[in-house]
């Protein structure tokens, strides 16, 4: 899939030169004779509640702004990168583009996205945590409004913890050592302490590395250099120790997706599971009746509880004839009330502090929400977002290397070498 993306990107670059004459600018609606401006908003909202929340925001906007009409164009997450490559190169990109920071950063680098810096209000800027704002800032320009975030959190089966005599940690954060101790204590009576779906381990490894001082990459674009040192190796080695020394991780989950690792959690085969925070909604819905669960405090490493943020974003095509109007809509879309409603529907973490606080006030008493929303404050910029060949490295080098390491086919030195040599080979 990713190698296909590389092919598309290369072809797109060549074809854009050949076909410039054919292109006739964006498809953004033009007011023409002074009628209303029409903005196309390609939305990836997929859950029924989130689709409804998005529609309501757009409907409210359209009622209040007869001169600027927003039309939602639904699209799916799968294949959206290929679709955007074609749309940008053919000059037919929608005015407003919903995607994720890691996805839009390369488009911004290639000059397809409008610089939103002059339009981003100071109030909004102050409302977005610095680490999150950094994740949508490319070459000093804000290229998207962040909307929704997820963090990695620990879901725990309270009954199994109580049986093992474990006191549930209090406070905002807990250390990885505490997690390891709890996992050891709850590995008993045929159950394992932890289930962690690591079939695609790279995303989790790079997202959680900042807690150990890991960055993986220095520099941006093609100049980026990889550094796999102690901070980067700490988490894989911890997982290895838990899985193969403590035997406190259910082995099969290491080869499963995150969602698959929920089934043994429901069945009481694992006392805890590390998942994307959005799984809270699925657990509330799918767990068997009487299943008593809790979200543990945010995990913190030696460098703190930081996690890399890859927010969902809304950006504006540079070809849009109505960048200013589109940004006005984005200011409205990301208002405290709207972001809170959208994130509640999607069970994600709002990208603005005010919306996160509003959601904490509304839902903080509900199971898990307080800890999940609290974890949002520790999200920080991810260096890998701005590295051109990250996607290729992730798929062709890092994921197989981590998988081999977790399967004991590579030792720590071998993993470090594979990650480094693989990057140097790709980024020649």
């Amino acid at each position: 899939m990713k190698s296909r993306r590389v092919v598309v990107a290369a072809l797109a670059a060549a074809a854009s030169l050949l076909f410039t004459a054919c292109s006739s600018g964006g498809d953004s609606g033009d007011s023409g004779g002074g009628g209303p401006v029409t903005l196309k908003f390609q939305s990836l909202s997929d859950q029924p509640a989130a689709i409804a929340a998005t529609s309501k925001i757009v409907d409210d906007w359209n009622k209040a702004h007869p001169g600027i009409k927003v039309e939602v164009v639904p699209a799916g997450w799968d294949g959206v990168y290929d679709k955007l490559v074609t749309q940008f190169n053919a000059g037919s990109a929608p005015d407003i583009i919903h995607y994720e920071a890691a996805g839009v950063a390369p488009f911004a680098k290639d000059g397809y996205l409008a610089d939103l810096t002059p339009y981003l209000s100071e109030q909004k800027k102050a409302d977005i945590p610095k680490g999150v704002l950094d994740s949508v800032t490319v070459d000093g320009k804000v290229i998207a409004y962040p909307t929704e975030l997820q963090s990695y959190v620990v879901f725990a089966n309270k009954t199994l913890l109580a049986k093992a005599g474990v006191t549930i940690p209090s406070g905002d954060t807990m250390t990885w050592d505490q997690l390891r101790d709890i996992a050891k204590a709850t590995t008993r009576d045929g159950a394992y302490g932890l289930g962690w779906g690591l079939s695609s381990p790279t995303a989790a490894m790079v997202a959680l590395a900042p807690g150990f001082g890991g960055k993986y990459f220095d520099g941006t674009g093609t100049d980026a250099k990889i550094n796999v040192g102690q901070g980067e190796m700490a988490l894989p080695q911890l997982v290895d120790a838990m899985a193969h020394q403590d035997n406190s991780i259910l082995p099969v989950t290491l080869t499963q997706s995150g969602a698959k690792a929920l089934a043994p959690f429901y069945a009481g085969q694992t006392a805890m599971t590390i998942q994307g925070s959005f799984q809270a909604a699925n657990i509330a819905k799918d767990a068997p009746a009487g299943f008593d669960w809790v979200v543990l405090p945010t995990l913190a490493g030696p460098a703190g509880p930081a996690q890399a943020a890859n927010p969902q974003t809304l950006s504006v095509s540079k070809d849009s004839k109505h960048v200013k109007e589109a940004t006005e809509f984005l200011e409205y879309f990301t208002s405290t009330e709207n972001l809170a409603a959208l994130n509640e529907a999607d069970t994600l973490i709002p990208a603005t502090t005010s919306a996160r606080q509003a959601l904490t006030t509304k839902l903080g008493a509900q199971n898990g929400w307080k800890q999940i929303l609290s974890s949002g404050q520790y999200l920080t910029s991810a260096p890998y977002l701005f590295v051109d060949k990250y996607a290729q490295w992730k798929d062709t080098v890092a994921t197989p290397a981590y998988q081999k390491f977790l399967a004991k086919q590579l030792d720590a030195a071998g993993l470090s070498k594979a990650l480094t040599d693989g990057w140097n080979s790709i980024n020649r």
């Binding site: 072809l11 076909f19 997450w77 074609t86 969602a259």
Partner: protein
């Protein structure tokens, strides 16, 4: 020993049919399971609790029926176009000898080696220039073009299998070129036409990538695009509604196959008698 042979054959056949049908059975089963059951460790074909809401959910979401209609139109029209073009072309290809045939065959095989991802951008720009991007007509043309080489290849194999002697015998009996084709070749070719039509229909019905890139307006979305929207970001998948949608999506294909299967059988018999 011989008495046991027949029951053993039936048993093997039943096992084979079950093996082939199991994915469909599992899909149907998943389409009526609750989200909790789908995400549990239990492996049971029959749901503990029948969840028909998945079908209502699938139909409620994103205009599934409308996009199925779009898929049906595109698949039927592109199938008809493919057959219309491939039938005479395959006959010529099969009966011709020499360099032109070799060049034709070479071109067909070459056209199959291009990955779709390489042709999508030029195709998009051409269709846009023609005013056919983001239209079902444009997608139909693309499906026709993309399916045609393989259909041609497939059909020319069937033509080659018809002995030229039969045509010559017809000509000896005084039949003209057109009569030979209509009375001898086409009836013998019926199974091949049906098989090619089935292939073309399924190719178009299931096609995802061209539709994903070429279609921009939700009212033009085909079924695979709509079903794709059941799979969300961050690993979120509405498994029950997706399975229900997939079951509904399979129905037109099954109906189409059922209709054509009869023709396939009668065509085979016609070929047997005349051959």
């Amino acid at each position: 020993m011989r008495a046991l042979l027949r029951p053993a054959q039936y048993l093997a056949l039943a096992a084979y049919i079950l093996f082939l049908g199991f994915p469909l059975l599992w899909l149907i089963s998943a389409s009526v399971k609750s989200s909790g059951e789908l995400n549990s460790l239990s492996v049971n074909l029959l749901p503990r609790q029948w969840q028909w809401d998945n079908y209502a959910d699938a139909l409620d979401r994103q205009g599934l029926v409308h996009s199925a209609g779009n898929s049906l139109v595109v698949a039927l029209v592109s199938t008809a176009l493919v057959i219309l073009i491939a039938l005479p072309a395959s006959y010529v290809l099969a009966r011709l000898k020499g360099r032109i045939r070799a060049a034709g065959v070479g071109w067909i095989l070459t056209s199959q080696v291009f990955p779709v991802v390489l042709v999508i951008l030029p195709l998009f720009l051409i269709l846009r220039t023609l005013g056919l991007a983001d239209s079902l007509a444009g997608l139909t043309l693309v499906h026709t073009t993309y399916t045609l080489p393989f259909a041609l290849w497939m059909l020319q194999g069937y033509v080659t299998a018809i002995p030229v002697d039969l045509e010559e015998a017809g000509a000896m009996d005084g039949a003209g070129r057109w009569t030979v084709l209509r009375r001898i070749v086409f009836p013998l070719l019926a199974p091949g036409i049906v098989a090619t039509a089935m292939f073309s229909f399924v190719s178009s019905w299931n096609e995802f990538f061209f539709a994903l890139v070429l279609l921009q307006s939700p009212e033009n979305y085909t079924l695979p695009i709509t079903l794709n929207m059941f799979i969300g970001g961050e690993g979120k998948v509405a498994l029950g509604p997706l399975a229900a949608g997939a079951v509904l999506a399979a129905i037109p294909s099954i109906v189409f196959f059922t209709i054509l299967r009869r023709r396939l059988t009668s065509g085979l018999m016609a070929g047997a008698v005349k051959g």
